[in-house]
Structure formats: structure tokens, C-alpha cells
């Protein structure tokens, strides 16, 4: 009898002893066989793009450039952020650029603009509400000014407006430079010049 009533308990146990290890083996193998293919290459490109981005962007905050121009002037440029352009060309753009050219005879030319193109090592191109103030009384606005970094040579190819030591002026273009062989700076306005000098503000009060 006893053997007939084979003890179900031990039967179950004997099956469990076989099934459970099998299941364990299956589980273990699935970890390695079925797991997501970890592609070692895959991880690196993501990091690489980021690095390239950083290198190319070279986020220079407040990059300061200071250099001597050939004629003894000192040019210093500071921009909020300068970035070589994304599309690989080395044409770099900067935001709200401030530049100051101090000439040997002490006159100062200040240029402030929304954007500046600092990529060309010989020229800086200021664009976007360019405001130019000089120590001898010019306050001129233009939408584009190109200044050489090697010598005193500031050009506004487009129209300018503003005030000068002589009064209000509007002109088709403007060129501030030191002619060859001379050491005095001249400013040439061309392409139509319109100047208004009103003396009423200061002189007439004294007279009457």
C-alpha cells in the first residue's frame, strides 16, 4: 500500500528538483543571449558629436582681442560671445561687439554693434545698428561698418547719419583713414552729403 500511495509530496519535489534548475539556467542564459545588443561604437559617436560641437563652437565668452595696428594704434575688441559659424566655414560671428581703436595721437574711435564678424584676421565687420563715436566729436550710426585690424581704416559702405564736430550729417557712405604718407586722419563722406549746422542753440543765447 505504502508504495501505491507513493508520497505525492516526494514526487512533486523530485519534479521540482529537475524543473527549477532548468528554469534557472534558462533565465541566466536569457540575460546574455536575449539582452539588448550594446553597441560599443554607438556610445562613442554621441560623445564625439558633443565634443566636436564644443571645439567648433569654442564658446569664448568675452573674448578679448588686443593688437597693435601698423601705424602704432591699439585696437581692442570684446564681444559677448564669439562663435565660428556652424557650417564649417571659418567665418565667425560674435554678438554685441565693442571695439576701441586708440590712435597714436590719442584720438579714440569706439565702435559698438549688435553683431561682429571676426573671422577674417585683417578686418572686422560690424553689422546691426552700428554706433561709432570718436573722441573728436563724431557720433555716427550706420548698419554696416568694416574696420581694418592692421591700420586706421574704418569704412561704412552704406549710408550713415549722425553728428560731427560741424553739425548734423547724412551721407551716402563714409571712409575714415590715414592717407599714405600722411599721419593725419581724414574722414571722407561721399555719395551725397547733407550737413546742417545750426548755431542757434549756443551763440544766439549769448547775444540777446
Amino acid at each position: 500500500m505504502a508504495d501505491k500511495q507513493r508520497n505525492t509530496y516526494s514526487v512533486v519535489i523530485s519534479w521540482v528538483k529537475i524543473v527549477l534548475p532548468l528554469v534557472a539556467v534558462l533565465l541566466l542564459s536569457s540575460i546574455f543571449l536575449l539582452s539588448r545588443r550594446i553597441d560599443p561604437e554607438g556610445a562613442i559617436p554621441y560623445a564625439e558629436d558633443d565634443i566636436i560641437q564644443m571645439i567648433r563652437e569654442q564658446r569664448l565668452s568675452k573674448p578679448d582681442y588686443q593688437g597693435k595696428t601698423r601705424d602704432g594704434g591699439v585696437l581692442s575688441v570684446s564681444a559677448e560671445a564669439a562663435r565660428p559659424s556652424g557650417d564649417g566655414t571659418d567665418e565667425g560671428t560674435a554678438d554685441d561687439v565693442v571695439a576701441r581703436l586708440t590712435r597714436p595721437d590719442g584720438t579714440i574711435i569706439d565702435l559698438v554693434s549688435d553683431f561682429g564678424d571676426l573671422s577674417n584676421t585683417k578686418l572686422i565687420t560690424f553689422t546691426g545698428q552700428v554706433q561709432m563715436n570718436t573722441s573728436d566729436g563724431y557720433e555716427i550710426t550706420s548698419d554696416k561698418v568694416i574696420s581694418s585690424m592692421e591700420k586706421t581704416d574704418v569704412v561704412s559702405p552704406g549710408p550713415i547719419t549722425g553728428t560731427g564736430p560741424f553739425g548734423r550729417i547724412d551721407a551716402g557712405n563714409m571712409h575714415m583713414t590715414i592717407p599714405e604718407g600722411q599721419d593725419e586722419m581724414i574722414t571722407v563722406f561721399e555719395n551725397g552729403v547733407h550737413l546742417i549746422y545750426s548755431r542757434t542753440d549756443d551763440k544766439s543765447e549769448e547775444q540777446n
Binding site: 564736430p165 560741424f166 550729417i169 574722414t187 547733407h194 546742417i196 548755431r199 549756443d202 547775444q207
Partner: protein
């Protein structure tokens, strides 16, 4: 010796703003001279001056005085100058206008045209404030009774 005639608009305001238009302007800041070239037109109130070349000299800012002296000290036009004031006209090779003197000196076969009368001479001192013109040097007057320009 010379002959003086009346010239120019009666109410010329020599303090009025001076307006200059030209094709080109070159300014040398150190020497305070601005040279306008190319159909230069200088307008002050009712006086208009046309010339191919005009040199404007600015007032030297006297560093010791507190307030800034600025402004135009002298206007020198050359290359054949025509000046119109009111309905009178004056011509000459050069015109030299020192603002403080309020006199425009025209030199080089100067000519003044007033209505039908024409006066010519070597130089003409045109006083804008008092509307007089003093003509000097071989003065000749041509009074054209009939023809009016």
C-alpha cells in the same frame, strides 16, 4: 572808392542754420577744415550759394574756456561762385564769408545783378545783415531800362 548798392533779402537772419549739400565731403579733424566738392549748395535762411568747391573752417575750441566753442568760422567757396539772396544775384570767382563779419567778399570779376541793373567790378563786399554790397575795382554799372532777366 567803390559803389555800394543794396543787395539781398531784407530779413536775412545771419544766425540761421547753415545747410550744406554736396557730393563729397572730406574732413581733416586736426586742421578743422572740411572740404565740400561736387555741386556744393550752401543755404542760410534766404541766401543760397552755389560753387563747385567750398571749404569750411570750424571754430577752434579754446581749451581754457569752459563752454565748447564749436561751429563754423569761415566759408570759402571757389571755382566760380553764384550767390542768390532774395531776388538779387551775385557772381564771382571766389567767395569768402567770415561768419563773425557777416560780410561775403566775392573776388574775381564780381558781378551783382539786381532786377535789371548789373554792376561789375573786381571785388564785391556783400553785407548780409545790412543788405548792402560795396563793389570795388573798375566798377561798371549797366542799367538796362527795358530787358528784364
Amino acid at each position: 572808392q567803390g559803389m555800394s548798392t543794396s543787395f539781398g533779402a531784407k530779413d536775412q537772419d545771419t544766425n540761421a542754420p547753415i545747410e550744406v549739400t554736396a557730393e563729397r565731403l572730406e574732413v581733416n579733424d586736426n586742421s578743422r577744415v572740411a572740404v565740400f566738392t561736387g555741386e556744393v549748395v550752401v543755404t542760410q535762411d534766404q541766401t543760397v550759394l552755389h560753387a563747385p568747391r567750398v571749404e569750411v573752417t570750424y571754430v577752434e575750441d579754446n581749451p581754457d574756456t569752459v563752454e565748447v566753442e564749436d561751429g563754423i568760422e569761415r566759408v570759402f567757396a571757389s571755382g566760380g561762385v553764384r550767390m542768390f539772396s532774395g531776388d538779387d544775384a551775385a557772381e564771382g570767382q571766389t567767395a569768402d564769408y567770415v561768419l563773425s563779419s557777416e560780410i561775403v567778399v566775392m573776388k574775381g570779376d564780381a558781378l551783382i545783378r539786381q532786377g535789371r541793373n548789373v554792376v561789375t567790378g573786381e571785388t564785391a563786399d556783400i553785407n548780409l545783415a545790412q543788405n548792402t554790397a560795396l563793389m570795388r575795382g573798375r566798377v561798371r554799372t549797366i542799367i538796362n531800362p527795358g530787358e528784364s532777366k
